[in-house]
Every structure is written in structure tokens, then in C-alpha cells.
């Protein structure tokens, strides 16, 4: 009797441990924001005309601020996002990546379209006037300024390199720091797409 009881007790503990392992709550790799308000909407210009954040309600939106002349940080992050989308397969149809250019002088909508296509066919690149970009960048916590380097390719732009995720309902949900890996992005996106 006692043995049976002990056995059933240990079996339960083991079952729960296994259950916990498989059903443990998701741990996000980015910082979770619990904003009570939807994130700031914007309308900028892409190759097919105006693009607003609110056009993509119902999809997850990945927001990245950069520029096409960016030597290292932007291509690294965008390549990781592209890889992560390939990893999550057909679920990627529910994800829209928007790259906002911080270099309105050099990045035309055409140039942005050509650039973003290198990373994933679904990416959209948008730009706007200096005033529009100043406002959008500030509201998403992105600092940027032109850095007159001696580089042969011309000036550089220093900018905050976070990757932002806006959920299907338009709330800013996650902030990834620079250096987030393909697997980490894919893991969090998969979880959010199940919600």
C-alpha cells in the first residue's frame, strides 16, 4: 500500500516536471513592454506609395531604423531577421518587416526596395522628409545623427540599433537589443504568432 502510494507520488512529480518542461511559460528574448496604448502611427513613403503602420493591423510588425549605406549593424540585423523569417516558414506571411531609413538624402524608395530585397522578399523600406523621420525616430526611442567620417563612401549615421516588434493589435510589445540572434527572433515571433 505504502509503496503504491509512493510510486504514484513520484510518478506525479515526474509527470509534472515533464509537463512543466514542455508547457513552461515562454521567456522572451527581448524586453517586454506592457504599454496601455497602441504605438505611434506614422505614414511614410515606400516604392508603392504611402505606408502606414496601421495598414498592418492583424500582422506582427518588425520595425527597424537604419540606412542602406550602413556598413555593419543594419545588414547584420536585417540578415538575422530574414533568416528568422525563413526559419518560421509559412508563419512569416503574418509578419511584416518595415525598415525606416534615417538617410532621406541618399535613400530613395527605389534604393530601399532594392536593398531590402537582399534580405527577404517581404521587407518594405520607407523614407520621408527629415521632419517626419525626426519625429518617428524620436517616438520609437531611436536617436540618430549624421557623423561626418573621413570614410570614402561619405558620411555615416550613428543610430540606436534596436529592433522593435509591434503586435497584431498595434501595441509595441518587444524591444530586441542589437546582437539578438536568428534563433531568438524566431523563437519570440513563433510564440507571438500563436497568441
Amino acid at each position: 500500500m505504502k509503496i503504491k502510494f509512493l510510486l504514484s507520488f513520484f510518478a506525479t512529480v515526474l509527470g509534472l516536471a515533464v509537463g512543466f518542461y514542455f508547457f513552461r511559460p515562454h521567456t522572451f528574448h527581448g524586453t517586454v513592454i506592457q504599454s496601455p496604448e497602441t504605438s505611434h502611427d506614422f505614414t511614410l513613403t515606400g516604392i508603392n506609395g504611402n505606408v502606414s503602420l496601421s495598414d498592418y493591423r492583424g500582422k506582427l510588425v518588425l520595425l527597424y531604423f537604419g540606412y542602406t549605406f550602413c556598413p555593419d549593424i543594419c545588414p547584420a540585423t536585417l540578415a538575422n531577421v530574414g533568416q528568422a523569417l525563413k526559419q518560421i516558414g509559412s508563419n512569416a506571411d503574418d509578419v511584416q518587416t518595415i525598415m525606416i531609413s534615417l538617410d532621406p538624402q541618399r535613400d530613395t524608395p527605389e534604393k530601399l526596395a532594392e536593398y531590402t530585397a537582399h534580405f527577404h522578399p517581404s521587407f518594405i523600406g520607407v523614407t520621408g522628409t527629415q521632419e517626419q523621420l525626426d519625429a518617428v525616430a524620436s517616438l520609437y526611442g531611436i536617436f540618430y545623427q549624421v557623423n561626418e567620417g573621413s570614410d570614402a563612401t561619405g558620411y555615416l549615421i550613428d543610430h540606436t540599433a534596436t529592433l522593435l516588434v509591434i503586435d497584431r493589435e498595434g501595441f509595441l510589445k518587444l524591444v530586441f537589443p542589437f546582437g539578438v540572434t536568428v534563433d531568438e527572433i524566431a523563437d519570440d515571433l513563433k510564440y507571438m504568432l500563436r497568441q
Partner: protein, 224 residues
């Protein structure tokens, strides 16, 4: 056998539910919600130096908004800052710096020189209490109005109507608390308590306790 298994299962499930409820009720860990991203900015400080939001990473920052020609209510904002500053020793900050940032809503008159004079009159230490201004008024409205959600408007007589506001931002540039209409009662106690809550989270968010902190965020165990 089956009966024991079922009983054991029910017992354990019950225990888990009780501990989840207990966690919610007792709230062993308190956190401040991560409300939104603080707006980024590129201002000029009271010494005429560039003053950017990125330089505040890794610090706790208390933002206020005012103008140097402001009569009565602004003095109370400054008094609260001075009180918090003088009582910082009461909080275990674990070496995390606290910076006060006062952004002028009147950039036309508040030049860096005017701000410097104002800062000196308040006895502000320029390392810990920064004053910011800009020449880009449209962007300033975006930063303060939309970004910090603080209303201000210039009146015909040159004075401003505005909400006295304190905004607490963490080292990742995330808004963690807002104190509005706060000058009627002293906000200093709450601000100091919240600085302690943030420092506790930074100190303890490692390994398994990190999960407990994320649970506290999940269960909305917010510090009063």
C-alpha cells in the same frame, strides 16, 4: 493505483494554483510596469554642450518640463527634485546613477545661458541635474507632447499652461512611472520608493529570480 495517481495529481495541481494565487495576493516581488519607450532626443544642455538621450543609458532618469520664467508651480517641481536629490542616500541604488533632466518648454527664451543661470540659482550640480533646450520647436513638441505625453501650450502673455509632470525612465530607455499633477502632494516619497523598486529589479534579475521578476510583470504586481 489509479486513484492514488489522480489524488496526487489533484493535490499538486491544487498546490500550484494556491501558490499562483498566493503570489498574486502576497506579491512577494513588486515591479514597475514597462509603460513605453521614452522618446529619443538631441538637445543642448546648460553648458552649451550636446545632450543626447543615448548618454542616459544605464541610469535612472527623472524628467521634468518647465521654463525659466515660470512663476509659482515650477518652484514646487524644483523643490521636489531637490528633495529627491538630497534623500537619494535613503535608497539602495547599487551604484546605478540617478540623473535629473529638466527640458525647457520655452526654447525661444531659454537659451543655454538662461538655463545655466537658472541652474546656478537652484544650486544644481550639472553632472546630476541636466537642463535641455533646442532650436527645433516642432520636434520639441513631438518629444514632450507625443513622446512624454505632457501637455504644454504658450499663452498670449508669453507664459505657458502645462501639466507639472515627473517621468521616471530606466537604464534601457523605458518609461517606468509617471507622476502627474503631482505637486499638490509631495511626490518625493513615491519617486524615492520607485527608484528602490527599480534598483531591486536590476540587482535581482539574474538566474531563477529573473523568472520570478518576469512573473511579477505578468501578474501585474505593481508597486504602489
Amino acid at each position: 493505483m489509479n486513484k492514488y495517481l489522480l489524488n496526487g495529481l489533484y493535490g499538486l495541481l491544487g498546490m500550484i494554483m494556491i501558490s499562483a494565487i498566493a503570489f498574486k495576493i502576497v506579491q512577494p516581488i513588486k515591479v514597475l510596469p514597462r509603460l513605453q519607450l521614452a522618446p529619443a532626443f538631441n538637445l543642448i544642455d546648460q553648458n552649451g554642450q550636446q545632450f543626447i538621450s543615448e548618454n542616459l543609458r544605464g541610469q535612472f532618469v527623472i524628467f521634468t518640463f518647465t521654463y525659466t520664467q515660470c512663476p509659482e508651480p515650477c518652484f514646487e517641481i524644483n523643490e521636489t527634485i531637490q528633495e529627491v536629490q538630497s534623500r537619494l542616500g535613503e535608497v539602495q541604488l547599487e551604484g546605478i546613477p540617478v540623473t535629473f533632466v529638466t527640458i525647457s518648454i520655452d526654447p525661444e527664451r531659454d537659451t543655454p545661458e538662461a538655463l545655466n543661470k537658472y541652474a546656478l540659482s537652484l544650486g544644481a550640480n550639472s553632472d546630476q541635474w541636466k537642463f535641455g533646450t533646442t532650436t527645433n520647436q516642432a520636434l520639441l513638441k513631438t518629444i514632450i507632447g507625443s513622446g512624454f505625453e505632457t501637455y504644454y501650450e504658450k499663452k498670449d502673455d508669453g507664459s505657458f499652461s502645462f501639466d507639472p509632470t515627473f517621468i521616471l525612465v530606466d537604464g534601457w530607455g523605458i518609461v517606468r512611472a509617471e507622476y502627474r499633477y503631482a505637486t499638490e502632494v509631495s511626490s518625493a516619497d513615491r519617486i524615492l520608493r520607485h527608484l528602490g523598486v527599480l534598483a531591486d529589479e536590476v540587482r535581482n534579475s539574474k538566474g531563477t529570480t529573473k523568472l520570478a521578476y518576469e512573473a511579477a510583470h505578468l501578474f501585474l504586481c505593481y508597486a504602489p
